[in-house]
């Protein structure tokens, strides 16, 4: 078993453990910390897929800002007790779990059954990605083919920043007590 394969399995198990812990643990702070762990795992998987810039951005944005925000807000809330962590009714819970299991089965089965189709597509990834330094290619394509989406994202971020401040203000916000 070569080093790459071992690395993939190791990271996959860690990420999966983080993801499952997020969903299954009752204490929400442990959930948030497990989510941070899963995001670091996903960033490491990006590195094995040669997307170095995206791995760094994933760490900066997701693991370093989004999850920190989650943890900070949870610590401020200081929830005293977890009334019912999981869904209440037995029958609806069973229906929901059944749906999720069915979707899981369909997805994994579809991937496994068409896996020889995927193995044929594996072309020459290194050549097309510009020989390892994908950042320049990413920049070029972002500013030429996807320029509209890029600018729209900028406007979206501006709106979101103003909106978040307006929502959460105590005096004069949209949800302030009048």
């Amino acid at each position: 078993m070569s080093a790459d394969v071992f690395l993939f399995w190791f990271l996959a198990i860690l990420t999966l453990a983080g993801g499952l812990t997020t969903v299954l643990v009752t204490n929400p702070i442990y959930s948030a910390l497990a989510l941070a762990f899963a995001m670091i795992g996903v960033s490491a998987l990006f590195v094995t897929l040669n997307a170095y810039f995206l791995a760094g951005v994933q760490l900066i944005v997701y693991a370093g800002a989004v999850t920190v925000l989650f943890v900070m807000v949870l610590m401020m809330f200081d929830l005293k007790h977890e009334i019912t962590a999981f869904t209440r009714g037995k029958f609806t819970g069973l229906v929901k779990s059944g749906t999720v299991a069915l979707l899981a089965g369909i997805l994994v089965g579809a991937i496994a059954m068409t896996s020889d189709l995927f193995l044929k597509i594996s072309g020459t990834p290194e050549v097309a990605l510009g020989g390892g330094d994908g950042t320049k290619e990413l920049g070029k394509i972002l500013f030429s083919k996807y320029i509209f989406g890029f600018e729209a994202l900028g406007i979206l971020l501006l709106i979101v920043a103003i909106g978040a401040v307006a929502l959460a203000r105590s005096k004069g916000g949209t949800h302030a007590k009048q």
Binding site: V57, L59, I60, G64, V68, T135
Partner: protein, 374 residues
Amino acid sequence: MGHDIFEVSINAIKLIVVFLIIVQAVPFLVWLERRGSAFIQNRLGPNRIGPLGLMQLAADAVKFFFKEEFVPASAVKLLYYAAPVVALIPATLAFAAIPLGQPVQWNEYTFRLQGYEINVGIVFVLAVSSLAPYAILLAGWGSGNKYALMGALRASAQVISYELALGLSIVGMIMLYGTFNLSEMVLAQQAPLSYSFLGANWTAPSWLPAWGIFYQPLGAIVFFAASFAESNRLPFDLAEGEAELVAGFHVEYGGFKMLLFFIGEYGHMIVASALMVLFYFGGYTIPGISMADLNQWAAEHAPGANAASLTVGLLTLLCFFVKLALFIWLFIQVRWTLPRFRYDQLMDLGWKTMLPWALFNTILTAALVYVAHL
């Protein structure tokens, strides 16, 4: 990691050495801080134990080992024990990506004086420093103490606010040198200083190198100020001030765990100084002598190519550490010169002053680079 067992083992030893540099530099830094601050405050500082008080930290370390190990009653045990360990991780990972000297060529192996060579070095360093708030939050929540929690929330809000100004102030450098790679950035700063704008060239006298600070003075100032806030040093250390918050998020830590927090904080200080040297002051290149000249001098005076390369590597390493020591001394000087900021002043400074200036620097650099290369 390498092609054969020799290279792999040397690389493994190099990783351990890089980690130990941070851990072993901290006693020296604490001594420097105590003597330096005493010098600024017109008193003596520790000077009894060992020559010049150098063994004071060894005595302190022995004291820490023998302190009582306690856990507060309302603490969350897992987080309480995990926090000091997590505090070490961002600083050491970031330090491992910094090139400390020129790569040494030994027979057919090239050993980089760097923990690991990463092509997107700057993004990696920023990414790993953005994991710093976790240690603070874990410590604050795991202590089960309201003061600790308040201090932790404030400190982590401060850290993530100043990360923005930190990252943006470096973007100007990335635009100028066109690379994320830290070694390439260092090597690009060794040419003699020259400005060229719309066809008009001006080259400075040859002993003045093309350091980053001559091209990006505003970026350097913003980066330096933001790195104070990142490592929670005065004048930005309200979150761990004793008069305001009873030492903030590490109030419930004593003994060895507290020492680990301080290793983390001094580690951040070392990384911030190292980045300052790397981006704006030429890294490991010696001012006035280009690397080609240095290599030639070593090849003439040393027995064999291996020894020549090793000499150049060690010389550049020494140069880097001298520059690093200068900046750490500057950190310590600033600590005892400026009064502490109040928390709302601190957040105002981060969002309303540093972020706009960093943005302005980015736009100005982009405009100048575009116009000058038209």
